[in-house]
């Protein structure tokens, strides 16, 4: 009991200290509007356009393969699949506006996919891919299963040749990805860009507040938990190697992780989509407010953490499933590094920017 009281007194002391240190910070006159324009024009729209291009190409090669299955066309299809899946990593966290309205991420990248449900759906030809219960039967994880989960390329080709249900399902999936991407790009161009950059201010529904939440949520739930923590067994008693992203392609999970990490860094630092054009960023915002963390600029600290995570990941096997099986502690260290990044962003950065966290941990039931 005394210990609890002591802890509270310490909390009170810290709270006082924090209040004083507020004075040394700049008042928040940061130009959020310029940041929104940079986000929209230098990152979001070019990233979506790139993604749309890649899934349209994927859809074309899926059509070619379904029409005349061959190992050559399978190889082309898989190459286009990888390119599109990587492009997806750049837009995955942008769950705002049209993507939010259509819950794009749920329909694009819920994994592990359900091989059982896919095989049940295949012969029906009446699948309704707009139902939430089909999240785990579509998108990239389901394509991954169809391309690499049915056997080696020769086996896959013979399955697609002997049973047209496979080709029909493949096309339904690739067409849906292309349609959804086109819809989002069109909505951004026709109306949502204007709405997005006009929604300045700092309320809970302002563009800045919403997108910062989306960004931090994604880093926490998708990059840290989905790609690393869940397969490493952080949230379960045992490891779950079959839950890595792109499980059936086997050697793709690390590349997708790194691509996603790169996208998060670019957004945070304001270097634009793949270095397209730099602009006003979260990093600059923190520096503008002169936010320090343990005697160092918070922005520098966050950069260092992101870079450490990247370096750690580059030393790992390119299959995270193999890492789980052979040296899971390496994946756990990567998780720990990402967790420290989450705390810096979710607690220190969001408090400094006066952005309230708008999500809570799901109940789990």
């Amino acid at each position: 009991m005394e210990r609890v009281v002591l802890a509270l007194l310490i909390t009170v002391t810290f709270a006082c200290t924090n209040e004083e240190s507020d004075d040394s910070q700049n008042a928040d006159n940061f130009d959020r509007s310029a940041m929104l324009v940079h986000w929209a024009d230098d990152y979001i729209m070019p990233a979506y356009q790139d993604y749309q291009q890649k899934v349209v190409a994927l859809n074309s090669s899926a059509q070619a393969f379904a029409n005349a299955p061959s190992t050559v066309l399978h190889s082309t299809l898989h190459t286009d699949f990888v390119a599109a899946y990587k492009a997806w990593q750049w837009v995955s966290f942008l769950e705002i506006g049209p993507a939010e309205a259509n819950t794009l991420r749920n329909f694009t990248n819920i994994y592990p996919t359900s091989a059982i449900e896919i095989n049940q759906a295949l012969p029906n030809a009446s699948y309704n891919l707009s139902l939430p219960s089909t999240f785990n039967e579509q998108g990239f994880p389901a394509l991954d299963y169809l391309l690499s989960g049915l056997g080696d390329p020769a086996n896959t080709v013979s399955l697609f040749t002997s049973n047209s249900d496979y080709g029909a399902y493949l096309l339904a999936l690739s067409q849906r990805l292309a349609d959804m991407a086109t819809q989002v790009v069109n909505d951004w161009q026709s109306s949502f860009r204007a709405e997005f950059i006009a929604n300045t201010g700092s309320s809970a529904t302002a563009s800045t507040n919403k997108l910062i939440n989306d960004f931090v949520f994604h880093l926490e739930k998708e990059l840290r938990a989905g790609k690393v923590g869940i397969p490493a067994g952080v949230f379960s008693g045992n490891t779950l190697p079959q839950n890595v992203e792109a499980y059936y392609s086997d050697t793709l999970s690390r590349a997708l992780f790194l691509e996603s990490l790169l996208a998060h860094s670019a957004f945070y630092k304001g270097t634009g989509f793949k270095g397209l054009q730099s602009g006003s960023s979260l990093e600059q915002y923190l520096d503008y407010l002169n936010i320090e963390y343990q005697g160092e600029a918070l922005s520098t600290k966050i950069n260092a953490r992101l870079e450490t995570a990247r370096l750690q990941a580059t030393t790992l096997d390119d299959s995270f499933a193999r890492v789980v099986q052979n040296s899971n502690s390496d994946l756990l260290s990567l998780y720990d590094e990402l967790q420290k990044t989450v705390v810096l962003l979710k607690v220190d950065m969001m408090q400094a920017l006066n952005v309230r966290v708008d999500y809570i941990d799901a109940d789990g039931d």
């Binding site: 009991m1 709270a15 924090n18 309704n128 939430p132 219960s133 999240f135």
Partner: protein, 410 residues
């Protein structure tokens, strides 16, 4: 502003803690004649005197019921058999996947709204409550199962996304499986613990005190009747623990009922002593029974009644407020799931007991008024709910308890 609030709340919390420290010194909790053991473990002649197997079985049946309520292949009579462990004519059935449960004569339904204090002279109300719960099962099949492959909309039953999960709702956004399971937290667990096994009418029934003082054991057992009644109360909270003598080690991972939500409440920093407080009260009360120290026992009963009642109240408010946030973010599936859980917790409020009055914090009629407000903002139930209604109802509930709306909400 944010820091000032933190400062204020920290100081006021500190004051509360200081005053509670002082209070503790004046109460006989530290009665030197009885001390709580480290674990819930009691022996006589070298053998354990603890037994709550009937409670463990009912909780295990409840876990099977919870899973079956989302098994679209099940018919209403099949679900009803899992609930009642009997067919419509009362004949024995084997509805469980676990053969131990099929061999059992216990059932969930027979212990719904069946406490001595509230229902021994109010069988009409008990029957009404059982009928309420039966109706949740029937409607889960007739309204929700039948619309498995439809997309839910206002006035249309079907499925709806809650994040990356799928929820199955009726045309008003109701998840009847949540209605039922959360209602059982009150109608089964809380009612049996607070209003039955920890009731003086049950613990001190007949010659229980004399027999307990003189260690007269129930025939064929190693425990007195009073010891056993206490253990049965304990079993409705901790009966599925991996190690029943050390239940906090696996808290929250054991069943879908009160245990799980004690863990949830305990993980809120405003209530972080709940699990240890309740566990300690159960241990000390049991030790007091062994020592024949009934005043100490009754003090522990007061603690348990207050804290378990608070769990029901806290989760009612928590889910109403969570739903408000979800509506604000246009996340209807998330909101409906929160509201469906809230519905069951609110239903459970009628089984709480205020230790100061001996009465439930809310009566059946008061609960039904709240639930009626919750589903009647418009023609389509949860689809039409307004934030102001959620705040009104949250406040109505929180004001009866010692916690604040804000403490419960996060």
């Amino acid at each position: 502003m944010r820091y000032s609030l933190l400062l204020l709340s920290s100081i006021s919390l500190g004051l509360v803690l200081f005053s509670s420290c002082e209070k503790e010194q004046n109460t006989p909790i530290n009665n030197p004649t009885v001390t709580a053991p480290l674990q819930y473990s009691f022996e006589r002649n070298g053998a354990s005197t603890v037994n709550y197997s009937g409670q463990s079985q009912r909780l295990a049946m409840g876990n099977e019921l919870s899973a079956a309520l989302l098994d679209f292949g099940k018919s209403a009579p099949q679900l009803q058999e899992i609930f009642a462990n009997a067919d419509a004519n009362g004949n024995n059935v084997d509805p469980y996947t676990d053969p131990v449960l099929n061999a059992s004569t216990k059932s969930i339904r027979s212990k719904v709204a069946a406490s001595y204090d509230l229902f021994s002279a109010n069988t009409a109300l008990s029957a009404q409550i059982k009928a309420d719960l039966d109706s949740f099962i029937l409607k889960q099949v007739s309204e929700v199962f039948s619309a498995q492959s439809a997309a839910a909309a206002a006035g249309q039953a079907g499925q709806i996304a809650d994040g990356s999960s799928v929820r199955y709702v009726n045309s008003h956004g109701f998840e009847y499986n949540q209605f039922l399971i959360k209602s059982l937290i009150g109608a089964l667990c809380t009612d049996q613990i607070l209003n039955n096994y920890l009731s003086s009418a049950v613990l001190d029934e007949g010659a229980n005190r004399i027999n307990n003082n003189e260690a007269v054991l129930l025939e064929g057992t190693n425990y007195t009747n009073m010891e056993h009644k206490w253990d049965e109360a304990y079993g409705y909270l901790f009966g599925m623990a991996a190690d029943g003598s050390d239940p906090l080690a696996s808290l929250g991972n054991n069943d879908q009922f009160l245990n799980k939500y004690l863990a949830r409440v305990n993980s809120d920093s405003d209530f972080s002593s709940y699990a240890s407080d309740i566990f300690n009260a159960f241990k000390l009360g049991r030790a007091a029974i062994v020592a024949g120290e009934y005043d100490v026992r009754d003090e522990q009963i007061g603690i348990i009644k207050e804290k378990i009642s608070n769990i029901i109240g806290i989760r009612s408010v928590y889910y109403l407020q969570s739903a408000k946030l979800a509506f604000a973010a246009n996340e209807y599936g998330t909101a409906f799931h929160d509201l469906s859980e809230a519905y069951g917790f609110i239903y459970s409020l009628m089984f709480t007991q205020n230790p100061n009055t001996g009465q439930p914090y809310f009566t059946y009629n008061e609960v039904n008024n709240i639930l009626s407000d919750l589903v009647n903002d418009g023609p389509n139930g949860f689809w039409d709910l307004e934030a102001s209604t959620l705040d009104d109802l949250s406040n109505q509930i929180a004001t009866r308890f010692s916690f604040s709306l804000n403490q419960a909400a996060n």
